[in-house]
Symmetry: C2
Subunit: 475 residues, 2 copies
């Protein structure tokens, strides 16, 4: 069930390979103190860019009332600016098309991945560091009335970023929009099929698609039915109507007055209760003082080699905003797992979500996947201390695995950061009445909370987009 | 049109007066350095309580890209704990009843006001400072499935509090609940009528009622029609079907599939755009270093006597959690104005909202009233620099003033802090296409954003509750 299957469209695949070739990028890991334009703050050791802006690497002291570890310190990436992740869409012959980009990011394991039309930090698009103008930005900066489909702030990795969020936008193009070099209009259903391949659709695309999954405006509203015949030799398994079940499960339960139903209120209440407990306290600290970490001019790494390290990267390319640059990047140790356990209840697909506390989230707690961890970090612990449901997910028989792909996290800040994303049907051992920090909910309710912003973490949003990509698939 | 009218229920009024008499509280303004249990931090000058917890008074440096003043410094109250504002409701003979409390707060201009069933900081209800148990807390701490009507985190005054928010809850009681001393079941429509009196219904009640206005669960859902015959001699004017118009305008536009309509998306998009601009940067600074403010052992006040001051207050009472206590309080200079301009468009009442940036809001920008200011702070400025639409609101002829009451802000932190709340029909001079930071929206959409939390500021929520209280009123 690994996501190494075929492309849905040979011509598209040729275009993508050509773009990857044209990117011609060299990425080299170098010592932190060799990074041009970056320096360690003499007082704190924090890594800063000469011109300000971009991001800094600093320290965080975390106190956790409820987690397995009561307190720890860690390096963290601070990037308070709000960037734009914007997907331009249009309708052609009754189908939705998306303007995608083949974008090189230095952290991508394969150089180029599919990104949204615009993927730009504020520093990028206001061009404070020089560089070229961001193509198509005008469609998002001054969206005309009636064209906005999605526009909401969403968090990113709460273990690696301090309070980071991006503006997730989907805007419908009015009038013709040309394909510039490196950009291409593709059908939404084709983009969904690309999500069944390993490391092709990047994180920023996935989070935008997760927001789109919940919104049905007059236009791109009518998401077309997916064509039949896939599910063979790639990351998704169907053949028994699972896709149709997913489609039905995204549908609202149908409260005619548009007000929230009781279960929606209870899902929000459960999240509010977890937030109100304030399970984590966080305090910025000077990077150099971070306990249990080695913070040198070479790299920043954990004493026991766990979690992640921060390394220097030298990028030489001809296709980005500037012709080359240096930057620190975060390298996770080992491949992560992010999984939803799912179960059909009353004819509707439910997912088991978790109230996930992460120190970098602005509200400490968001809704996360059933399982989200790097198993290697737990290898030294007894089985009882491994994350709940991890073994259930990893040992599920193939017929219960509905989705299984390796997807990359943000390649602009994370170096070779991969997660194995899984959707697995829960076995009998998974309770209908789960532990207090878990909750069964429908795809519809999860999508409704997603579109409000700041409620669903980025890994759960990726899984939501993966599930949405499965919808409508038929044998 | 001032809110000095009659009580809807003479017996209720007698009970309330009796409670006020029984509270027997002495509140005395004293120098800050005379406060028992409080001290100025030797390093920073910040005011702290001996035991930690409660709150601190510290400093904030604010940079504003878009406001009239590019940078300033100010004292601010930091209270990171999340408290509970909980209203217990039940159904009796087809009507909703609420368990209210006659609660003494030292800052109340009249001692006792109507508060929700539970109004407690986390320090209160976990009893870290001793004191009595919080009555009825168990209904909110462990609400049973199907009983939660509202449960959401909401911000409070963003100019006076740093990142403060409370958990707003409405829970339906199952089984009989006795009225303890100081508590009383009242009909929701009676509570609504009390909102037309000056300084009777406190801020915490208003914010909880604003959330209730948008939610319609199976139970308390069916908010009963208000009885006819009020609107005379109190803070609300009707007589021409305005109440019925309000009721209709709270109704959703009726998108049968439960997904957001285009205009709801655009309202959220407008708010997201204002947030993404990050109009304010805030940085905590030591209190003693705050520029333009005098920070002494006596009080903290602005050089020119504007904005507010921080004073010491000595409270002696027999009815609160402890028998007496000392604390700093914030005293605003002059009475504020918070107003909605409203207009009927297409048979539906619209309100003119504003993207309001305030330094203490966690997300910098929330939806605020059309006008929100303390006019005295602008007395020294030329007319062109006065807040937009302030004169329109204050000079409206009586027949356009639909609501006009003086209501108090939180009496536990603010001393004699009053705002004049107004709902005024817009004259011809108010454009249909307002300046970019204003937006016309319906009551329904405003309520829908309110129930998501962190979108609508506390003054706009008070106005929403006031408007809801007008609904159904007929001549």
């Amino acid at each position: 069930m690994a996501g190494g299957g075929d492309w849905p469209d040979g011509e598209l695949q040729r275009w993508f390979r050509e773009q990857a070739r044209a990117a011609r990028t060299e990425v080299r890991v170098v010592p932190l103190d060799a990074l041009r334009g970056w320096h360690a703050d003499p007082g704190t050791g924090d890594l800063r860019h000469r011109g300000g802006g971009f991001f800094t690497v600093t320290g965080l002291a975390v106190g956790s009332e409820t987690g397995p570890v009561p307190r720890w310190e860690q390096p963290i990436i601070s990037q308070p600016e709000i960037g734009v992740l914007g997907l331009l869409v249009r309708r052609r012959a009754g189908r939705v098309e998306c303007l995608i980009q083949a974008k090189m990011e230095p952290g991508n394991i394969n150089g180029v991945q599919i990104s949204p039309t615009v993927q730009a930090t504020r520093s990028n698009y206001t061009r404070v560091h020089g560089g070229r103008a961001t193509p198509y930005l005008e469609h998002f900066a001054t969206a005309r009335p009636g064209t906005v489909v999605v526009d909401v702030l969403q968090s990113e990795q709460g273990s690696w970023f301090l309070g980071k969020r991006n503006r997730n936008m989907v805007v419908e193009a009015r009038g013709p929009v040309e394909e510039r070099d490196g950009f291409r209009w593709v059908r939404l259903d084709v983009l969904h099929r690309l999500m069944r391949l390993d490391n092709v659709v990047n994180m920023d695309t996935r989070t935008v698609l997760s927001c789109l999954a919940s919104v049905s405006p007059p236009g791109p509203a009518a998401l077309p039915a997916r064509p039949a015949g896939h599910g063979e030799g790639n990351g998704a398994r169907d053949g028994d109507g699972f896709g149709a079940l997913v489609t039905a499960s995204f549908a609202p339960p149908g409260r005619p007055d548009g007000r929230p139903d009781e279960t929606e209120i209870e899902l929000l209440s459960w999240l509010t209760a977890h937030r109100s407990r304030q399970p984590m306290t966080v305090r910025p600290i000077p990077g150099r003082t971070v306990r249990d970490w080695s913070w040198t001019g070479d790299e920043i790494s954990h004493r026991d080699g766990r979690h992640f390290s921060i390394v220097g990267v030298e990028v030489r390319t001809g296709v980005r905003e500037v012709d080359g640059w240096d930057q620190p990047m975060l390298v996770p140790r080992g491949r992560g797992v992010a999984a939803f356990l799912v179960r059909v209840v009353g004819g509707v697909l439910h997912v088991l979500v978790r109230a996930a506390a992460q120190p970098g989230l602005r509200d400490a707690v968001e809704i996360g996947p059933t399982v989200q961890c790097r198993p290697e970090n737990y290898a030294h612990l007894p089985a009882a201390d491994r994350p709940r449901f991890l073994d259930e997910v990893l040992s599920a028989p193939p017929e219960r695995v509905r989705y299984d792909c390796v997807l990359s996290e943000e390649g602009g800040r994370f170096y070779h950061a991969e997660n194995r994303y899984l959707v697995v049907e829960a076995g009998d051992g998974v309770p209908d009445d789960p532990p207090e920090d878990f909750r069964w909910t429908t795809l519809h309710r999860l999508a409704a909370l997603t579109r409000q912003g700041h409620n669903v973490n980025v890994e759960a949003r990726s899984l939501l987009a993966c599930l949405h990509a499965l919808s409508g698939a038929t044998p």
